[in-house]
């Protein structure tokens, strides 16, 4: 899969802003003026391109070593190249699975990051396609009591 990044065409005419971006105040100028550009935008931080980002849910324990716990939310970007090493949503025999994509001794392998689970080694007759690349794992912080740091 080759990611294609179209460039928007330039408009023939320049865009002209019809108004000044800041109000002209008559009183004491705000010391923050010129520095304010909005609060942190979490979506902007997490989502590279909203047109090809989807939210998935992980079910199962095969990827706990990669920080994916049962029930976690996954941000999945279809515009990123699924190169070996990436965590991907893959379609194997008509089922969606989340695993780490790798190539071992010339074979494509969907690696489970939990020793209790087997890797999926792809043979010629197995149909596999990559649906998208996982870019973020959203796990809720767990509530726990009685945890003491070790000295």
């Amino acid at each position: 899969m080759q990611a294609s990044q179209p460039e928007p065409l330039a408009l023939d005419e320049p865009l002209i802003l019809p108004f000044a971006p800041e109000a002209v105040a008559c009183g004491f100028p705000s010391p923050a003026e010129g520095y304010w550009s909005g609060d942190l935008d979490l979506v902007q931080h997490l989502v590279r391109d909203p047109t090809c980002t989807f939210v998935w849910r992980a079910a199962g324990h095969s990827m706990t070593g990669a920080g994916i716990n049962d029930g976690d939310l996954l941000l999945v970007d279809r515009g990123i190249d699924p190169v070996p090493g990436k965590i991907v949503i893959a379609v194997v025999d008509g089922e969606y699975t989340v695993k780490r994509l790798d190539v071992i001794q010339g074979r494509t392998v969907l690696v489970a990051e939990n020793l209790d689970y087997a890797d999926v080694v792809l043979h010629e007759h197995t149909e596999m396609s990559v649906w998208g690349v996982v870019t973020w794992i959203l796990s809720p912080a767990k509530t726990k009591r009685g945890v003491r740091p070790r000295l």
Binding site: Q2, A3, S4, P6, D49, T51, C52, R57, R78, Y96
Partner: protein, 434 residues
């Protein structure tokens, strides 16, 4: 007789291939190589079918579900209820991506966009392939790119792409010589053309005009007199002269909003009708707030089915001028209930559909009242809170009055084979096995 000018702006029609069926496939790998069809509201009849289904039955479109159900099972055809949330979400993504390929875009329908492109035929065909690859990779939706000097000719190119798989989903009509184009237009009946209504086919035939080529070479001014300016435009467009522009301005806020539905079963109970109308009023008031308007008049109607022989035919309609233009769901829900005394005037009535219409709309920020005219709910922000909750948890999560029922009411639209609304509902996310 006409050559298509090689330079200048070209019009590309980008349309999604079997959009509903392919939208279903994005989140369901089991459908990938299976014939798939989509049913209308209430699982009534077939509204979309992928080519695999059409191979099995070319006349499948519009057939009622109850008649083909057994056939589908026997043939391994997968059926789905229409999942408009999913289609809308994917359609918006596709349209946004297409907009990156051109500064001029007209989103024409849920699965079609017009783009203006500039370049030689080979260049535009390779750009067309790039558009296909990009949209398919980013959204999973396959598209076709049909290019021509005018909208009408781009539609001709689209017919060519559908007929001939060798074009691989992209065709610039300018790649053909004059003679080839003549032959293509010879092979098309006038009613195959975009903008030529079926009923005009016979009238044109009476004048000796049968094919698209004959129409192109006919006297445009004379046909305008016999038909209309639309026919003249079609002729000029076939000659490569742009007459139908790109409507790139976003449509203005709607000046009326309608929420009307047919029920999944006929309603005979006044309480249920009350519930229906309060829910419809709330749904339409959510749309009103979404476009930032307030309404001056609420109309509400209900009627029996026109072909329903099991009912006394009845319909009722009421319009309520609102004391002050408002977007308040409580005020609108109350207003919708004015029709209730008019319903069920005699025994033996069963209603099939109802609707709530808001008119006299204007921008909400221009509204200024004296406090004495303000609705008692106005500044409590009830509408905003409702919208916030329904956006997060779905349209049935919370409601006012009888609209606030937890379980979906029995008359709610039947969508028995609805796939998950993967991109719009937190509790219906697609699941990957870890």
């Amino acid at each position: 007789m006409t050559t298509l000018t090689p330079a200048s702006d070209q019009i590309a029609l980008v349309d999604c291939v079997s959009f509903y069926a392919n939208a279903e496939r994005v989140f369901d790998p089991t459908l990938h190589d299976r014939p798939t069809l989509v049913l209308s509201n209430n699982d009534g009849c077939v509204v979309a079918a992928c080519p695999l289904v059409k191979e099995l039955d070319p006349d499948i479109m519009g057939k009622p579900w109850f008649k083909i159900r057994g056939w589908c099972q026997a043939k391994g055809v997968e059926a789905r209820s229409s999942n408009y949330e999913l289609y809308g979400s994917l359609s918006a993504r596709v349209a946004t991506i297409l907009g990156r390929f051109s500064a001029w875009q007209e989103v024409y329908s849920i699965d079609e966009s017009w783009l203006k492109l500039r370049g030689a035929p080979e260049e535009l065909e390779s750009r067309g392939q790039e558009i296909r690859r990009t949209v398919l990779q980013l959204t999973g939706i396959p598209v076709r790119v049909a290019i021509g000097p005018t909208k009408t000719l781009a539609k001709v190119a689209a017919l060519g792409i559908k007929k001939n798989p060798a074009f691989n989903g992209v065709l610039d009509l300018r790649r053909f010589s004059e003679e080839q184009l003549d032959r293509i237009l010879d092979s098309l009946h006038v009613t195959d053309l975009w903008g030529v209504a079926g009923r005009n086919g016979k009238r044109l035939a009476a004048l000796g005009i049968h094919t698209a080529r004959e129409l192109r070479d006919a006297d445009a001014k004379w046909l305008r007199k016999r038909f209309s300016v639309v026919m003249e435009r079609t002729i000029l467009e076939l000659r490569g002269q742009k007459c139908i522009g790109l409507e790139t301005q976003p449509p203005a806020a709607k000046d009326q909003l309608i929420y009307s539905r047919s029920f999944s079963r006929k309603l005979t109970d006044p309480d249920e009708m009350h519930q229906v109308l309060s829910i419809y009023a709330q749904r339409v008031s959510a749309r009103l707030r979404a476009q930032g308007s307030v309404a001056g008049v609420l109309s509400v109607w209900a009627s029996t089915g026109w072909a329903d022989e099991g009912t006394v035919p009845h319909s009722a309609h009421r319009a309520v001028p609102l004391a002050m233009p408002t977007d308040d769901p409580i005020a609108l829900t109350k207003a919708a209930s004015v029709i209730l005394p008019d319903l069920f005037p005699t025994a033996g009535i069963r209603y099939a559909r109802a609707g709530v219409v808001l008119t006299g709309l204007r921008a909400s920020d221009g509204v200024q009242f004296l406090p004495v005219f303000q609705s008692e709910f106005e500044d409590r922000g009830v509408g905003k809170v409702l919208d916030e909750i329904t956006r997060k948890l779905g349209a049935q999560a919370v409601g006012v009055g009888l609209g606030g029922m937890k379980t979906p009411p029995a008359w709610e639209m039947k969508r028995a084979m609805l796939s998950k609304r993967c991109t719009t509902h937190w509790d219906e996310l697609p699941v990957a096995v870890a």
